[in-house]
Symmetry: D2
Subunit: 340 residues, 4 copies
């Protein structure tokens, strides 16, 4: 390890925290020096998650606060905890990758409605860079604070970006998306009790979901146009994985070529010729995309799949880390999907 970067993972015992640790174990330059946890402070990591038993992280003790100095903080924390912690870390001149939603939307007035709190640090919102590398790579390279995106917005924006980049006009945006249950976090919930969720599927938060303004905000910033999104999230009985189907009305163009061209240099986005399976990406940082234009209805349909905990959260955070630290963008992220 020629270059060594000291990393603190805040909130290491949620699903995004543990997934981040799994990826960090493969990273050639990151060294985890602190793991925080409120619920498990004082325990060794392998006491809570025995799969780390045989790794050097297994014997690390979880603490309420970081106990060693670090260069970069990953925040796998509740939204409000992140909201308050970020300004302190900014003052301490740390690099920050915030996996919560606290700094994703530029417009501070949206927070009370969608997050249930006043955004008390609106001045930081403009410094926060929205962390989808395929959309904001250059800004991320220079950022000190990256707001790591939600899983639904990642899948959706990667599906829409080539249209925006090519200035295609589109309307009637329907985003119908399926998520694995891990997207709801590690906290138990009657709906996600195994006997209830096995063999089940349902839509939720149809009237209002906090990822809708996040999508609309980025689309507007990139395209200069205001677009209303009809968003229907659903949960399906898989642990991981996400599939977004994005429907828009637009003129006929050679979309498959436009998409291929748009993403041809991207290491983690692949445009393929048949609808992707979510299993193509489980455990990875990849996004697979399929594009179909239907002349009968003048509708373009784009299907994108990601791992909600991967490109939708933790591995994308690591991709952002690589960019912020001037490392190879895919360092630590070269695994292929677990199959079968």
């Amino acid at each position: 390890m020629e270059q060594e970067i000291k990393v603190c993972v805040y909130g290491a015992t949620g699903y995004t925290g543990v997934e981040l640790l799994r990826h960090l174990l493969n990273h050639p330059h990151a060294r985890v020096v602190s793991l925080t946890s409120q619920s498990y402070a004082g325990k060794r990591l392998s006491e809570v998650f025995p799969q780390f038993e045989a790794t050097h992280l297994g014997s690390m003790v979880l603490s309420e606060k970081p106990e060693e100095d670090f260069d970069v903080a990953f925040l796998c924390l509740p939204h409000e905890t992140s909201l308050d912690l970020v300004p302190k870390l900014v003052r301490d001149r740390k690099k920050i990758i915030d996996l919560s939603g606290a700094y994703r939307i530029k417009n501070a007035t949206k927070y009370p409605e969608f997050y249930g709190f006043e955004h008390v640090h609106p001045e930081l919102l403009e410094h926060a860079v929205y962390g989808i590398p395929e959309l904001f790579r250059e800004e991320i390279k220079k950022a000190n604070l990256v707001a790591n995106p939600g899983c639904y917005p990642t899948a959706t924006l990667l599906a829409l970006y080539p249209l925006i980049k090519s200035s295609v006009e589109f309307e009637y945006v329907v985003v119908d998306a399926l998520s694995g249950v891990s997207g709801a976090g590690r906290k138990v919930d009657q709906k996600f009790h195994y006997p209830e969720m096995e063999g089940n599927s349902f839509a939720y938060s149809i009237e209002k979901h906090r990822h809708t303004p996040e999508m609309e905000d980025v689309i507007e910033r990139l395209s200069g146009r205001s677009v209303a999104v009809r968003f229907t999230p659903q949960v399906i009985p898989v642990t991981r994985g996400m599939m977004a189907k994005v429907y828009v009305r637009c003129e006929k163009l050679p979309y498959r070529e436009i998409y291929r061209e748009s993403y041809k240099e991207e290491p983690f986005v692949k445009v393929i010729n048949q609808p992707p399976h979510i299993k193509y990406v489980i455990g990875t940082n990849y996004c697979f995309i399929f594009v179909h234009y239907d002349e009968k209805t003048s509708m373009l349909e784009v299907i994108s799949v990601i791992d909600n905990l991967g490109k939708g959260a933790s591995s994308q955070a690591l991709q952002n880390f690589n960019l912020m630290m001037g490392l190879e963008e895919s360092a630590g992220l070269k695994q292929t999907a677990l199959y079968p």
Copy 2:
């Protein structure tokens, strides 16, 4: 059993056949006299499906052709086999409930494109009644030949019917639907091998699916208007269950009330106030519906769930049987969902 109706199940060893038998065992007036099967002719039913061991059907021997006279035929057969068998049964003056797609679409010219065969009996298409009781109850009561609908059209048409009935104008019909794997039948397939399908989900037949003209045909017949449907079927890792999300653009109206009013007398359609879970209907003939109008996008979203093998196939066939034979419509169909 005051009244006894002799029933033959053709193709008894596919998933719709076995599910029909499960329901027929609970039926107060139907008596199964013949079970046909090409693959298992000569075997006892319980040799193939041990769960029937303890029922009176268990010792029935599967035969290539019916071996006893009967009043009503259920056809759980491949499309082309049904195509050829129906005229013969019509000549023999049997009542017929055809669970295949051979007689569902009125326009014979659609069959080569969507089913891959010429419809050689177009004269029977106008006699065939499309078997969704909520839409065509009176015709079904008088029918000798009922074309039992596909699962996707059942879920979609029940979601759209109150709009059509109330003459609401709508456009941009997007039907995004999730199906359990049993919808693809009992025949093995690499995609549905357990290790491939567990934890997986994907869209298929996006360019062309034979249920699209079936939906469009019925919408046009009921509304007098031609409507193009953008239909995206997907498979999720559940054995049974189907969820259709139907998106249309239309003016604002009190849709929840319109839907409740429309279905208030229906024994098997329930309009509820939150998005339904597919587990509400597994093993039953019910359809649960949720309606949401989104002012921001001027879109109505209707979510309906059914059991693809229940209301989407076999129990709906039995509901049609009850109507055709003048029985109580819910005879043999009073079970609630298996939970959890």
Copy 3:
């Protein structure tokens, strides 16, 4: 309904309570008059479980205590709640079927170790009849208080009973059993959070499980011999179903014939020639059994499958009800397994 029996279900909103209601809906003589629930008192049943929306039970209001007089009480309650309620119901001369463990073991001294409480009503233990009809049918017919067995003991004792009945000497009893997650109840638990349990399996309570003395108690009462059982329960990622594999050392005998003969009159136990699948019995009151004697090791292996919520709990409770009330033993229990 010529004969009508008024039934109260105590604890109607746990998994055994709901499953019992599902079966009671099919019963020709039982009429549910009261449903109790501590957590949901004041709500309609269909508010909690929408699948009952369309049944006459859906509009029943859950209450803390029964609000109407009744003939028979089903107790789907925690062990300690049952412990205290039973004496009161006995005084009121109700027929009682207790699905908890409070009255299953005859020896009151076992309760502190295995249930964590003193058995304060030991005088009732000898009146309580252990509710496996295949073992204690005549006693059940005359009983006022039936202790409905645990799921593991039901599967195990049905697997061992023909040996005991035939006075075969056996030793080294290993019971290795797999259970669906619903066996752990409806209460949420980190281990049974969907993302943790999907794709998972593990053994638990290996040192001590309360079903071990229950099995040993019945074996000793029936055989007159004390037998120690090595019992290893495991959970597998299915919602329902249970498979017990019982290994004993014994001399070579024609066990398949002995088992068939032993159960030939039983409506709900089927001895078959290949290892049973748990899907043969899901949603039913059946037990399927397979027997194999291995000469090389002088071991007999018996595999039995049941639905842990069916023959392992609620449908067996209804079978006991039928016997206690002098009804046809299989009334309300004639369904075959949901397949696929």
Copy 4:
């Protein structure tokens, strides 16, 4: 990559082949130069398995025979194909790791009964080293031909080895083991069609399974004693994972300490204090073991979990490769389990 070893994977498109490729992508010294496949010859790897799209392996073309010279051959082939290919590779002085069963059992006379063929190369059986590094590490280091073990024997022998090593006398060996469905391979099968296998579990090959003589053979070679194993394999509805529960009768000793001591230097075997979950090891080369002695029955119970495609097949093959080539034993094998 200072040292580069050219590798050919025969039978690259089965589950063990693909899993091996996934691990080889992480290996610092192995370079895959040829991939053979009978079914997919002429196709690019990523056409068959799109998850390889973004890796350098994705564009490799599958061929009927190796098209480039190589140092080491991994044989992920049917037993009989391996049987015939091995002698040819031996003559060509290749290092061979055979994942089939063709060279696992020393006694050639067992093959007709358990594999259905005469072993036509018995002279090679004594040269083949049985590839469990924890049991035969030194032999593997010097081997040219390693017979990579079956998944059930790996889990079982790791559970029994400390007893043998400590010369503990034991009897009545019951091995009751659960396997994920991928253990049955990629070939479709009615039993493993998703709708049949979801929610299901069953035992199979109870009378005779080819892994029984494999276990007995190794136990006898290591202990000098002949031991008969009662082996009951079962399939549970998970894609990957295996749990063996091994029951033996033996005197009381401090087994937990014996096991810890026995495996304390092993990088891939961990003895823990509670029954392991199969999810602790998914995607890895680890084996987790739990030990419990039950005084009441004088039985020792050992529970071991592995990934049937990992330590039970492909990653163990890579561990053997590392030993044979004088590399760090854990090269390419440092991943932790995918969680959740």
